[in-house]
Structures are given as structure tokens and as C-alpha cells.
């Protein structure tokens, strides 16, 4: 166990460098959340006057939690690519020839994603605050939001690793990530549940993204709503266990 921790730490530093040394990575993660935050908040400025927004006066404040969660999603949406490229190029084989546990190879791809998703979400959170959004739970609440964002990214990353490991194709992997985008629109990121058509409300009930968004919203707007926060942790645990178990299976399949 300590061996896996030691190996994951050192290999994780490498995957983190691999992420940070391409500035375009950060840009491509932040671009869409930022555009949605800045453009939609003005385009649909008056939408908050509709019933269901619970008396919120700024659409920007309503959008913020969804975009923080979306940022965490964007941070991991293509996380399988790095591993895929390295499997193809033989680098993963080189790691497998060193006397390390093979799970360390996978763990070193995943663990940094927690920090990556949390750090990217932090940038968007800070931008929201600069634009005038408030966080009623203050600094501790903000930190909890980042933990939620990090865990959300970690839980969801399997959705990129699984197609990468099973198909070994960049096209298939990126297409699969795109398929997850509609989940964002069928969540409470843009409008409250009451304003959704009936069928979408059903999707929303099963949409893990909405649980994360509502927990973040609670921490920003109402306070420590442990029901919402607990539901978010629960849904992430469920998604995380299912996706990462499948990832482990797919990884063992290729790495024996």
C-alpha cells in the first residue's frame, strides 16, 4: 500500500507536469464555462423574474454553481487522452517494465484529476466572486465547494478512461465525452427543475450533475444544507464506484 502511494505520488507529479506544461489545457477547460457565465448572464438577464428562481435577483448568481460543476466536468472530459497516447507510444509499457504495481499507473492518472478539477473550478469561483456573486458560507464553504468539484471530476473521469482503454481510439474517446454534454443541459445548471418539461424533470432526477450543482448552490446561496451536500456526495460515490470499477476492469484487460 505504501508502495502504491509512493509510486502514485511520483508518477502523479509527472502527469501533473504533463497537464501544466501545455497552457492550452487550462484555456480549453475554462473557455466554455467562462463564455456561458459571461454571455448567458447578460443574454438571459431577466429570466430570474420567472417564478421558480426563488426570488434570486441575479442570473449570474444562479448560473455560477452550474458553471463551477461544468468546469470540473471539462477538466476531466478528455482525461483518457493522456493515457491513450502513452499506451500507443509505448510509455505505459516502459512503466510496466519497472518494478511498480500496475495500479499505480492508473492511480497516477486519476488522483491528480481531483486537484486539476478543483483548481480549475477555483479559477471560475474566483471569477464569479469578482463579478459580484457572494458565498454565504464564506471561505470554509468555498473550500467545501472545491472539494465537491474535485470529487465530481474524479468520479466522472472514468467516462473518459473507459472508452480510451476499450477502443484505443482518440475519435471514439472524444465522441464519448461529447455525448455527456447534454447531461449538463438536462440539469439545473441553467433553469430550476420547475421550469423544465416533464420528461426532462425525470432525467434531472437521475442526473448526478444536478445533485452536485444543488449542493454548490446551497453553499453559495442558503448555507450548509447537509441534505443537499449529502445527496451530492452520495451520487458522486455511486457514479464514481461504477465508472472507476469499470475503468479498473478495462485497464486490467489491456495491462493484464
Amino acid at each position: 500500500m505504501t508502495a502504491i502511494a509512493y509510486e502514485t505520488y511520483h508518477l502523479g507529479l509527472r502527469t501533473t507536469r504533463r497537464f501544466l506544461r501545455v497552457p492550452a489545457n487550462v484555456f480549453s477547460i475554462l473557455f466554455f464555462p467562462l463564455i456561458q457565465l459571461l454571455v448567458f448572464s447578460q443574454l438571459y438577464e431577466d429570466i430570474v423574474q420567472l417564478p421558480g428562481f426563488g426570488g434570486q435577483t441575479s442570473y449570474l448568481a444562479y448560473l455560477a454553481p452550474g458553471q463551477i460543476a461544468f468546469t470540473a466536468f471539462m477538466a476531466v472530459a478528455w482525461s483518457g487522452f493522456g493515457l491513450l497516447v502513452e499506451i500507443r507510444g509505448g510509455y505505459t509499457d516502459k512503466l510496466r517494465v519497472s518494478p511498480i504495481h500496475r495500479w499505480s499507473i492508473l492511480a497516477s492518472e486519476m488522483v491528480p484529476l481531483f486537484f486539476q478539477a478543483a483548481a480549475m473550478a477555483a479559477i471560475i469561483l474566483v471569477i464569479c466572486v469578482v463579478l459580484g456573486t457572494t458565498i454565504v458560507t464564506g471561505i470554509p464553504g468555498a473550500l467545501l465547494i472545491l472539494v465537491l468539484a474535485g470529487l465530481f471530476g474524479l468520479a466522472l473521469s472514468g467516462a473518459s478512461f473507459i472508452p480510451a482503454l476499450l477502443t484505443k481510439s482518440e475519435q471514439a474517446t472524444s465522441t464519448f465525452s461529447l455525448l455527456l454534454f447534454p447531461l449538463m443541459f438536462a440539469s439545473t445548471a441553467f433553469v430550476p427543475e420547475e421550469l423544465m418539461p416533464d420528461w426532462m424533470q425525470v432525467v434531472n432526477q437521475w442526473n448526478p450533475i444536478s445533485y452536485v450543482i444543488e449542493a454548490i448552490r446551497a453553499l453559495m446561496v442558503t448555507g450548509y444544507d447537509w441534505n443537499a451536500i449529502g445527496a451530492a456526495f452520495g451520487s458522486m460515490a455511486l457514479v464514481g464506484v461504477i465508472l472507476q470499477a469499470a475503468t479498473l476492469w478495462a485497464f486490467n484487460r489491456v495491462a493484464r
Partner: protein
């Protein structure tokens, strides 16, 4: 044909690898590599060289047979094998976003070397490979030859007793190739046992003390390059003779007469500038011939010796030229 003693650093017996349904990539290979030896696998692409190497490097499970590296079975004790093995794959396997130094240091850390030792050894290898000035640059910016060298250096970080190299000079320009050959010879002379694969005849000839020619998953013949070439036929010796008054023919006859007990009459043939002799093991026979001819004042102005090429060896044992197979092979991808 194999060294099966316990002292062998690599010992392979009856190795078989069947892919999927019926592709027998390796079809019953046995061989041994003695400590300190530089052993070569010569064969066309698709002959089973890489599959054998991947089994030895613990990356692939054999279907049948056993393989031991540095005394440990690759199937039952892969961890012990990995501590004692350096592998350089066909294409340099590098993280483009790590620097050369980081690449080496990570390799040492994963081999559980103490940190101070990791730094010292990284310095040493960067210096040896002539990469000190680019140690802080990302490997993605390196030239082909530099990538090979840093990849090789990372396989050498933990000073493994066994180094396995798959097509080490594939895709290199002639200068880089020669430089890498010298490097490999130096590493071997420092005590590292090596197994390398190649489909370049000159590479096998220059580097390997012993080699096995592999074709269709089987070893067709093995031995030292010299022995293998002798098995194909005699060496050719060309003696250039001074022809002062157009008496080249009489000089040829003199040579034929003087060497009658050394070279059969039908092994001597005219050459535009003298005579051509067909001599088994020429490098040992030539000194005595020269002493005798010189003693009889035969005006020899030049000497040229050539061995049959390994290509003719390959042709004899497989019925094909190696080049026919080497070209235009699709590149295999992935782990299967």
C-alpha cells in the same frame, strides 16, 4: 545449439506464443545468453523477435515454454526480473513533457534508488550520452538520435545486469547509428549483458558476439557472425600484383604453383589486377601465404579480403533475402 547451463543470464526453452486463434508468432524458440555476451536476434519484421523480447521483458505471457532472465522466471517472478532488466523498445518511449533529467530521475525513483544516488547517476548518464546541455529541455524537443540516447539512458539508470534492445538503431541517420553502436559496445564492455534485435545485417555483424537468425517464429541457425559466414562458403582474397612488362599471366601461374599445397587449383581465378583466391577462414590462412609469396619475390602490391555477407547466410537458411521481408510492413499498434 543452446547453452542450457545455470550461469546463463537469459535462458529460453521451447518458447511458444500463439496470438488469438492460430497465429504462432513464436513457434518453439530455445536459446541462452551467457553473462557479458552481446547476443543478437537477426530476422525480418514479423519474424517473432519483438514478441520474444516482450515475453522476456514481462510484458507478455508465453503460451508455452519457459524464459528466465537473471535467474528468475519471467512468468512466476516478473517483479524480480524487472529489477534486473533494462528495456529499450523499438520506438523511444518518452513523455514528451518531461525534461531529459526528469525522465532519468523518474526511472531511478521507480527502481527505488536513493535520491542522492538518483541525482548522481542522472548526471553521469547525461554526461555519458552527451546530453548534459539539453538535460533541462523537454524530450519532445529532442532529435531522433537524442531521443534514442535518453531512452537508453533511462533503461540504464539502475545499472541493470541485462539490457534488452528492440531495433535500437531503427530510423537513425548513419552518424547517429555509428555513435549508438559505439555506445552499446562500451556499455557491453563495462559488463552489461545484452540481447538486441535487428534486421540490419551490418549491425548484427558489427555488434554481436553471437547471433540467432530467426524466421517465422523459429531460430533457423545460431552462432558467431564469423562461424555463420564460414558455414556459407569460403572467404575471398584478392592479391594485386605489379605487372611491369605485361607478364601478369606468368605471375598468376607462379602464385598458383607456390600456393598449390594451400589452395586448391580451382580456387584460384584471374582478377584484372592479379588473382582472386577462394580461401576458407582467410584471416588465419593469409599470413602464411604472404610470407611464402614474399620469400619468392612475387611483387604483391595490394591485398583485399572479404567474407560472405550475413545476407548470404540468411539466404542460405531461409531461402530469401532479408530485405524482401523488411520493407513495407505495417506498423503494429497497441498492446496486443
Amino acid at each position: 545449439m543452446t547453452t542450457q547451463d545455470d550461469s546463463a543470464i537469459i535462458e529460453v526453452r521451447d518458447l511458444v506464443k500463439v496470438y488469438g486463434d492460430e497465429t504462432r508468432a513464436v513457434d518453439g524458440i530455445s536459446f541462452g545468453v551467457a553473462p557479458g555476451e552481446l547476443f543478437g536476434f537477426l530476422g525480418p519484421n514479423g519474424a517473432g523477435k519483438t514478441t520474444t523480447i516482450r515475453i522476456l521483458a514481462t510484458l507478455l505471457q508465453p503460451t508455452e515454454g519457459t524464459a528466465r532472465v537473471a535467474g528468475f522466471d519471467v512468468t512466476t517472478h516478473p517483479g524480480e526480473v524487472r529489477k534486473r532488466l533494462g528495456l529499450a523498445q523499438q520506438a523511444p518511449a518518452l513523455d514528451a513533457f518531461s525534461t531529459g533529467r526528469e525522465t532519468l530521475e523518474l526511472a531511478g525513483i521507480l527502481q527505488r534508488m536513493p535520491l542522492a544516488e538518483v541525482r548522481r547517476r542522472a548526471d553521469e548518464l547525461l554526461e555519458l550520452m552527451g546530453l548534459t546541455s539539453v538535460g533541462k529541455k523537454l524530450t519532445g524537443t529532442y532529435s531522433g538520435g537524442m531521443k534514442r540516447r535518453i531512452d537508453l539512458a533511462s533503461a540504464l539508470m539502475h545499472s541493470p545486469p541485462v539490457l534488452i534492445l528492440d531495433e535500437p538503431t531503427e530510423g537513425l541517420d548513419p552518424q547517429s547509428r555509428t555513435a549508438l553502436w559505439e555506445e552499446l559496445e562500451r556499455i557491453n564492455q563495462a559488463g552489461t549483458s545484452m540481447l538486441l534485435t535487428t534486421h540490419y545485417m551490418e549491425e548484427a555483424d558489427r555488434l554481436c558476439s553471437r547471433l540467432a537468425i530467426i524466421d517465422n517464429g523459429r531460430i533457423v541457425v545460431d552462432g558467431s557472425p564469423g562461424d555463420l559466414k564460414r558455414s556459407v562458403g569460403a572467404d575471398t582474397v584478392i592479391l594485386r600484383l605489379a605487372s611491369t612488362n605485361g607478364d601478369l599471366d606468368s605471375q598468376r601461374a607462379t602464385v598458383r604453383r607456390l600456393l598449390a599445397d594451400m589452395v586448391a587449383a580451382d580456387a584460384v581465378s584471374p582478377h584484372p589486377e592479379g588473382v582472386s583466391l577462394s580461401v576458407p577462414n582467410a584471416s588465419e590462412a593469409v599470413p602464411a601465404m604472404l610470407r611464402r609469396l614474399d620469400g619468392e619475390r612475387v611483387p604483391i602490391t595490394g591485398l583485399q579480403m572479404s567474407q560472405p555477407s550475413l545476407d548470404s547466410v540468411f539466404l542460405k537458411y531461409t531461402g530469401r533475402h532479408i530485405r524482401e521481408e523488411a520493407a513495407d510492413q505495417p506498423i503494429s499498434m497497441g498492446w496486443q
